[in-house]
Symmetry: C3
Subunit: 340 residues, 3 copies
């Protein structure tokens, strides 16, 4: 067999490091496409001039371009036979990605646990994105439910201990970043870090009705090859399942309206793709401020935010039974960096 | 409230200058996307080599990339609560936009007039696009019908005097432009400025059936956030209204076939988005030569052109009643620069 | 008439060289769009770093970007009134296309033959793509069935002799290419040239359901103006015919899975667009190894491959009657370069 059948649960071993294929140079083209695919408007990732005014050398690529590119490379090795993407934890953005950088990924298997059904198992990996100088740009844990090849094989159990939240002290502020001369007129909103209160809920107001062509363009751009996103014959209902990361980028971009100055994503605490998203869905977003923290840089504050993508109303997440509402698509918990 | 509710009629005051948010660096990615989204084929904006052959340093971005980028920035402040985009006047392209340039916009309120209904008002703004050196690249007037917040408030009336046509002497020829060695073989057509006669009508022959994904990609690329373009829940008929500028770019690109050498847009005299455009419409274009003028550059002539986008036949614009035909989408009056 | 009506059969004369219009600079934007439009993952055209590791200065644009760009320019002169694209032969990629290069095309008429119906004729052209230094980057023969203007005119017959296969000695290995330190881990697959056996059939497994927006974005990007791709009023069934080259790129990109190390296309031996492709079709691909050859570079081997795009099953090409099956879209015969 010349083609990649993907790995099954038995094919992973604890501590193994998988070097993922196809390094990718990203640049001006990916930036333009990101702006065409998502309603992204953050001033730092839109403008070289603005980025320079806050101490950077140029406008870095959107933090989610780094995430999707690094994630996409892991798909052939991690999630080609995955039944579900179960969660994210301990994600940290370690260094901006600049136009012209070349990214590759590697993943260490840090946990394995068979499910009670005996036909699947959970695999935990810590994935690192590296640039052309071998510097880590991103680091995160995700775990997926993967099919077993045979029922009988036993695999040693190891469930990793994962921090429920990235400690604010561990967040990395991009080198040189100084919000001291941040232009709140040009960035689009006057709100500083101190203007956000824990518990505050922000309805981001705007919405996007999703098209097949758009999510496929995006998903291919990240070289994510999971068949369900592209091939209508993969599911009985003939629908293409939209890549969860597409929903993350949609929601994050929509959150500009109310969080225009949350320029950077610094940490990914947790995330759940609660319900599948399909073309034709009209996606809106709302955020809840979960926590606030100072950072090592005096001009930079961190907000811990819950970002929810939904087909329903802002502020609604779970029903009376404590379960996610069927309209909810994404529940993401992340740290953003804002001017203090 | 952290989000932008948009301005209402009462929120504008005469003489006020609004600095619009989110400067944007444009470059190779935007150029490629422009060519993917529209059937643009002008040699100057397709080829660095061709641009050099007519005296420029490199291929500038399409003049409409400048227009859309500058226009898009104004939407959150000018047209978020607009009922209609009523017109354009006195538009001038003042300087090419080069890959790597960063654009921002500012608008001066130059006119205000309540409508007889008492629920809306007309706002006139003069918008300027500026590059990273603070040089104006584009300047135009547009006026929009905006909702009032309260019925009772009275606003002083000022209707600006606007020139019906940009005077040819006021048109700016890009610095260095010299069509003396213009290669009519490579540009696609042999027609010079002198080959066009006033009154001549050109059927541009080609047509494009518009898709939802395409107009949304384009409109997002210009960071235009008007909800009606993206969200099917905004209108009772569940349709997404296509950004008028998308139709302008479609028509202008289609006009290559017959106006291949009309390389630059130098002036915008007037423009009406006559009927709404929706996905599924098959758009074609025709032009009428309205006037001819010399410019300060001996090798460069100006043509005043009516550019019509329509779902109907070329040459047909108004019915017996003098009203625009329902098939007509756009009636644009502009100055183009051609080799003499 | 200011617009281009296209040429008819009588408008071609043997030996004539047609210089096609609109040179085009390609770069980072076109590369990103290629990755968004097709599931392309070849390491050499994805990564500057990987390209350097095999002796190149940077990552060249995908060989099919060169093909489509060069081909697109010929459409207004060669195939605007074409009834069918009949075949390709003697195609050779002569030099990589680098970001920033400007391409133009010219075609020599090398064959003419009226069909028995008297209403059409076959035109053979040898098309060359040239960069800004006038160096040939690509050379191929294609022949098309073109409408006659009048029934009565007689045109001298000349049918060119075409090689059934490009001789391996004539294939050009990109200057500097050295697969000696090729990283098979990063490229995605361990298979070398020597691992492929003549007669071997590879099912590329993945599939893509095609959308209207995608094929139109692609076809416009190559400035291919044939009306049938964009305008639903062109065909009685209201369908837009997908540009055959879109299917070539889809199939070639899908073939990564099994041919990840077939980094370059060096020769095009033959090709047939067997059945039309329309939006909604789910396209898959399979390859057959037709031949193997050494090249002048010791680390580089050539594989002659049949690449089939189909809506049906892998390995199935023709029915019992010897005719192509209705599911088959493309039968392409090409030379690829791989590490030995």
């Amino acid at each position: 067999m010349k083609t990649n059948p993907g790995r099954f649960f038995e094919d992973y071993s604890l501590g193994e490091v998988i070097r993922h294929a196809v390094p990718r140079t990203v640049g001006a083209g990916e930036r333009a496409l990101y702006h065409a695919l998502y309603p992204a408007r953050g001033a730092v990732s839109s403008s070289d001039e603005f980025a320079r005014s806050v101490g950077l050398a140029a406008s870095p690529l959107d933090d989610l371009v780094a995430f999707h590119t690094v994630f996409g490379k892991t798909v052939p090795d991690i999630s080609l036979n995955a039944v579900a993407n179960l969660g994210y934890a301990e994600g940290r953005w370690l260094r901006p990605v600049w136009p012209g950088d070349t990214l590759r990924s590697e993943s260490e298997v840090i946990g394995l646990k068979e499910t009670s059904s005996g036909t699947t198992g959970v695999v935990w990996v810590r994935t690192r994105g590296l640039n052309q100088r071998g510097e880590a740009v991103l680091d995160y844990v995700r775990w997926v439910l993967v099919r077993k090849r045979w029922r009988e094989v036993e695999v040693p159990v190891h469930v990793p201990e994962l921090a429920p939240v990235v400690a604010p002290e561990a967040l990395v502020v991009p080198e040189g970043l100084d919000f001291g001369r941040h232009d709140f007129g040009l960035s689009g909103e006057p709100h500083r870090w101190g203007d956000y209160a824990v518990g505050e809920v922000i309805d981001h107001v705007d919405a996007v009705t999703v098209e097949e062509a758009e999510h496929m363009l995006a998903t291919r751009l990240w070289q994510n090859t999971a068949k369900v996103h592209f091939d209508v014959t993969q599911r009985e209902d003939g629908k293409r399942l939209i890549y969860g990361g597409h929903v993350i980028s949609l929601a994050r971009s929509l959150s500009f309206n109310g969080l225009a100055n949350a320029h950077f994503i610094a940490g990914l605490n947790a995330g759940a793709h609660v319900n599948p998203c399909f073309a034709g869905d009209t996606v809106r977003a709302w955020s809840e401020v979960l926590d606030r923290a100072e950072t090592a840089a005096p001009s930079v504050g961190a907000l811990r935010l819950r970002l929810v993508a939904t087909r329903g109303a802002a502020g609604e997440l779970r029903g009376a039974d404590g379960k996610y509402l069927p309209e909810v698509l994404l529940d993401l918990d992340y740290w953003a960096l804002l001017p203090r």
